[in-house]
């Protein structure tokens, strides 16, 4: 529709998640108007992230070096290991104050997208458990069908090893109102109720 390079840019932007053809076109025209320096900075940032960022050899989180800052931090507790799907989940748990170590699976079981156990960092997790002294494994995959399937798979694989495996709870958000909770979440919260010690 547009001249070569403009259409190429629109097509490339359109392949990004959450960007449709209309947004791609809008971003492309914004970029066209950008001063050359700014555009080069953006291009350089994309190239740099691809060149410099890889995965940590231990926890498979994104990292600039072979061992990420979290894994090389001696202050972190070694006893508990939190298993998550994506690097962004690590950030979320860090904000929540978790001080143990992480393992990033880089996805969840999803046959529709061709993701089976071999595509996830499960083998690496197994060898970590025997190498490091892990006392508790906390399964923090998402509370959806794929996340639950992954948690179930892991707990089955880990059973023979005899370590403590826990699953993150699901229920009401803190500071929220009961009346705004959807019935499923509220049902789960009710199931997972606990006794108050008087």
């Amino acid at each position: 529709m547009y001249d070569g390079p403009v259409q190429d840019l629109i097509d490339e932007l359109g392949r990004l998640p959450g960007v449709g053809p209309k947004s791609a076109q809008r971003i492309a025209f914004y970029l066209l108007k950008l001063p050359k320096g700014d555009a080069q900075q953006l291009a350089a940032a994309i190239v740099e992230v691809k060149e410099r960022i890889g995965f940590c050899d231990t926890c498979w989180n994104i990292s600039e070096s072979e061992r990420c800052s979290l894994c090389s931090d001696p202050q972190r507790q070694t006893g508990s290991l939190c298993v998550v799907e994506e690097p962004k989940d690590v950030i979320a748990l860090e904000r929540a104050g978790f001080r143990g170590r992480y393992h990033v699976l880089q996805g969840a079981l999803n046959p529709m997208e061709g993701i089976g156990p071999e595509q996830l960092r499960i083998r690496e997790l197994m060898s970590r458990i025997s190498d490091e002294e892990v006392q508790e494994l906390i399964l923090c995959t998402n509370p959806n069908i794929e996340g639950e399937a992954t948690a179930m798979y892991l707990s089955r694989q880990l059973q023979p090893l005899g370590i403590k495996v826990t699953r993150i709870a699901s229920g009401l958000p803190v500071g929220g109102d009961l009346e705004y909770a959807d019935e499923l979440t509220l049902g789960r919260a009710l199931e997972g109720r606990r006794e108050l010690q008087g």
């Binding site: 079981l109 999803n110 046959p111 529709m112 061709g114 089976g116 156990p117 071999e118 069908i145 794929e146 639950e148 399937a149 179930m152 798979y153 089955r156 694989q157 019935e183 499923l184 049902g187």
Partner: protein
């Protein structure tokens, strides 16, 4: 619950329809192809259901336009709400209640409840099992949000599991076996809940269908409803083990709630194959009447009753008996000839011509 007013804009052959409805019976008269069923369809969509004619959005939007609008003023216990639906051929269709967006289309069912009787209802008896499954599931879902969610989950799990089986290309490897265990567990949890809920529902629904059948047919023939689901005897977990080899070979899930059927026995014989055309028609009517009664009972609200050209298919006595069974709720019925059986007393008549309401 009463629909007070309905607007249809660029919906099928209605380009700008605005009708006021009262709480009694409205008779819609018009020649074939002038938009009677479309009006019924528009009213039915307000309940958050899909088109009862199985139409896609493209078919609902008037040709030459990109969006159709259905709007209605609904009175619920003397409170009025405005429902607005935008059906668009580009992007997602949207729905609002009192200018508040609803998350899922189906949630409209919390505001508007409707039961539709259509000439295609014979398919409920003669058609494939999927039609009967959705009759069951749609009716249960109206008042059971947990069931609604599990149903969505089940579809999702089945898609994942079927993909897994397909990828195996007929070979049962160790990897596949361990993965299957996980998906089986998920499937079993969702399936058992659906199975239990359906069974409980049939327990209430079955006798009510039998009752209405006898009233409509005017005979004391026994009717029994059962859910045909062999896996329920042993539990799905065991049934999956038994069918595993077959499933791997064929690359899909062969047992579970998605394969069940609603078996309707008339005089102890399957109605699908053994009942006469007239008996099948009476049974279809009984299913709809029982659906009405169920929704009324669990929601405490009288659903809107839509009768699309129903009487033309019935002989005089059965038409009369059906009229006797009809509830005292808001009713909209269509007729090409304008003649209705004795006992139906329309409180207003709308005349449709080329998708426009004219003075009768």
């Amino acid at each position: 619950m009463i629909i007070k007013r309905l607007w249809l804009t660029n919906f099928r052959n209605h380009d700008e329809t605005d009708v006021e409805l009262n709480d009694g019976t409205t008779l819609v008269v018009g020649l074939n192809g002038h938009g009677k069923t479309n009006l019924i369809e528009g009213l039915y969509l307000l309940s958050g259901a899909r088109s009862f004619r199985g139409a896609k959005v493209d078919a609902l939007v008037r040709s030459g336009h990109t969006s159709a609008y259905i709007r209605a003023e609904v009175e619920n216990e003397s409170r009025t709400s405005l429902i607005e639906i935008e059906l668009t051929t580009q992007g997602r269709s949207k729905a609002q209640v009192n200018k508040q967006k609803v998350k899922r289309f189906r949630d409209l069912g919390d505001t508007v409840r409707a039961v539709v009787f259509s000439p295609d209802d014979l398919e409920l008896i003669k058609g494939p099992p999927a039609i009967r499954r959705s009759l069951l599931d749609d009716t249960i879902a109206i008042t059971n949000p947990e069931f609604r969610a599990v149903r969505t989950d089940l579809d999702h799990i089945l898609r994942q599991r079927n993909n897994l089986l397909k990828q195996a290309k007929g070979r049962l490897s160790n990897d596949l076996e361990t993965s299957l265990i996980i998906w089986n567990e998920q499937l079993v949890n969702a399936a058992e809940l659906i199975g239990d809920t359906r069974e409980e529902f049939i327990h209430q629904f079955g006798p009510s269908v039998a009752d209405f059948y006898q009233q409509v047919a005017g005979r004391n023939d026994p009717v029994t409803l059962n859910i045909e689901a062999d896996w329920r005897h042993t539990g799905l977990a065991e049934a999956l083990v038994k069918s595993q080899d077959d499933e791997v070979r064929r690359g899909m899930t062969l047992v579970g709630p998605h394969r069940d059927d609603l078996l309707m026995l008339l005089n102890s014989l399957p109605s699908r194959s053994h009942a006469s055309q007239g008996e099948q028609r009476s049974l279809a009517l009984a299913l709809r009447l029982a659906t009405y009664l169920y929704i009324e009972k669990v929601s405490g609200d009288q659903p809107l009753v839509l009768l699309d050209d129903v009487f033309s298919e019935l002989d005089e006595t059965r038409a009369r008996r059906l009229v006797e069974c009809l509830p005292n709720s808001q009713i909209v019925l269509t007729s090409a000839t304008g003649t209705v059986p004795e006992g139906v007393n329309p409180s207003q008549t709308l005349s449709l011509e080329e998708g426009q309401v004219c003075a009768p």
